[in-house]
Amino acid sequence: MVKATPLAIDIHNLSLWYGDFQALFEVDLQVKQGLITALIGPSGCGKSTLLRAVNRINERLGDYVRTTGEIHVLDQDILRNDIELAQLRRHVGMVFQRPNPLPLSVRDNVLFAHRIHRADEKFNRRKEDEIVEHALRRVLLWDEVKDHLGREATGLSLEEQQKLCIARLLPIKPTVILMDEPTSALDPKGTAALEELIWELHGDYTILIVTHNMAQAKRASEETAFMLLGRMVEHGLTEQVFLAPREKETADYIEGRYG
């Protein structure tokens, strides 16, 4: 099998256990670079678990979580011991279900990762200003916040907070952005705005997005992967999965027969 588009994420035979409970069963998933891939499936099927395996954030639970199989990000085997997690997470950003801006100013939020990774050695106010403006423009937030960058980020509306959470990833130039139900805390207008933003980012970033919203998956993704009970059932172009699913379970789920 030779793919035309390079792969951003290549998951092969991945199984994952929380203690004695197996949450993922021999999952295979190939996410192409620059595309938006939607991950759908009923609650508890392991979507978040899979997402969190890709930036190895599950490991904060310690030995309780056991992983077998392979995950490659940009051709690099990321389950190796000598992987620098700080670098991995710099390249693989994550956006969570509830917007979680840090209790700092808007400006400091955008610059947080940049400063941690100290992309340039010397402090440079003008450079920082540029970075902030660029990131905020990119997430379509600049006009709303440009006059009060010093304000606490936690005071923004949820929609603005979620955009900010995306904006703070951009200065460190991630390749992949993982999004775990990024719009489920937002109202319809916020959801629409965020979907617009996701399209806006498409091409420059590889986006793997978990959603419970079928319409959203259909609208806002190019490929769709369907999971059920810890297994990958089907993965293909979004139109194909929605219009002509290969598996019966996929069809049942999409038509709302369970989940």
Partner: protein, 304 residues
């Protein structure tokens, strides 16, 4: 596995996610900070370890059933510590009976009912300051209030109440802190279903705060069993070779007994002193172990 682009590096070799100089420096710093904090913890633990070690080595040989369960003899230069052991248990039990209900109730009032105004804040501040009052001052207060004014005489009751006043702030502060860790959303959910404040507290808030309250109780027990000054004028006897029959009796107490045989009884053997100290510490640790066990049982049931 097939990769489309033959991009840099042999497959499986991590170039992109290799540690940079900055990462390495950060790891070194992180390691250093961790080592430093670990060292601080060690500095904290070592003296405790040494004290326990010395007590076990020097007092261990004195401990026997006979030592624990017999009365002092020969002007307290020999014999056991039974009356002091029993007395300390009385003091701890009676003072907890006073401080826990009062302290928990006050904390519930302050955290769940009282409006957040200047008066509440002053009261909170006063409670914190009360914790800093030297125990000898509590002793004098207890003597005046319970021994003389209330007419309890020098008795277990007067001594226990004095200890209760002393430990009250600990119980209140621990309880209040733990009540405040229960998320507001739980309370709102209860209120929204028409529950009264008290129903909310009883069904949702208290069960989730209980482990923190027990932490306060543990601290209170340790202080109660270990203090000498507050009981010296209020109920603990120098030498009282009987078991107390009621809370109106005087009693011996471990901390006081240790103080007495160490300073006022010529000829008491070191073994006796160390043995007494070891028993006191073991008693406190045992009582704490019970609460800690109970607390971790309760924590295990907590699910958020």
């Amino acid at each position: 596995m097939t990769y489309s682009d033959g991009g840099g590096g042999t497959p499986g070799q991590s170039l992109m996610f290799a540690a940079t100089k900055l990462n390495t420096r950060n790891h070194r710093l992180q390691w250093l900070v961790r080592a430093l904090f670990g060292l601080m913890t060690l500095i904290l633990i070592v003296p405790v370890g040494i004290i326990l070690g010395v007590l076990v080595v020097r007092g261990g040989p004195a401990i026997s059933l006979e030592f624990l369960f017999s009365f002092p003899r020969d002007a307290m230069t020999a014999g056991g510590i039974f009356p002091a052991l029993v007395g300390t248990m009385w003091l701890v039990a009676v003072s907890l009976m006073a401080s826990v209900p009062v302290g928990v109730a006050a904390a519930i009032y302050l955290s769940e009912y009282a409006a957040d105004n200047w008066l509440t804040r002053v009261i909170n501040l006063a409670i914190i300051n009360l914790a800093g009052v030297p125990s000898i001052v509590h002793a004098l207060f207890g003597f005046g209030a319970f021994v003389i004014f209330a007419g309890f005489g020098t008795s277990i009751l007067a001594a226990s109440l004095t200890l209760a006043v002393m430990t009250l702030p600990v119980v209140i502060v621990a309880t209040r802190e733990s009540l405040q860790t229960v998320p507001m959303a739980f309370r709102e959910a209860c209120w929204n279903m028409g529950a009264t404040r008290w129903q909310t507290i009883r069904i949702v808030v208290l069960p989730n705060a209980i482990s923190g309250i027990l932490t306060g109780v543990i601290l209170a027990v340790s202080r109660t069993a270990g203090e000498t000054a507050p009981i010296m004028f209020t109920g603990a006897a120098f030498f009282f070779p009987f078991l107390p029959h009621s809370v109106f009796d005087q009693t011996m107490a471990m901390a006081m007994h240790l103080f007495v045989i160490s300073t006022a009884v010529p000829g008491a053997s070191d073994e006796l002193k160390y043995g007494t100290a070891l028993t006191l510490i073991t008693l406190v640790l045992l009582m704490n172990a019970v609460s800690i066990g109970f607390r971790s049982y309760l924590r295990g049931k907590k699910k958020w």
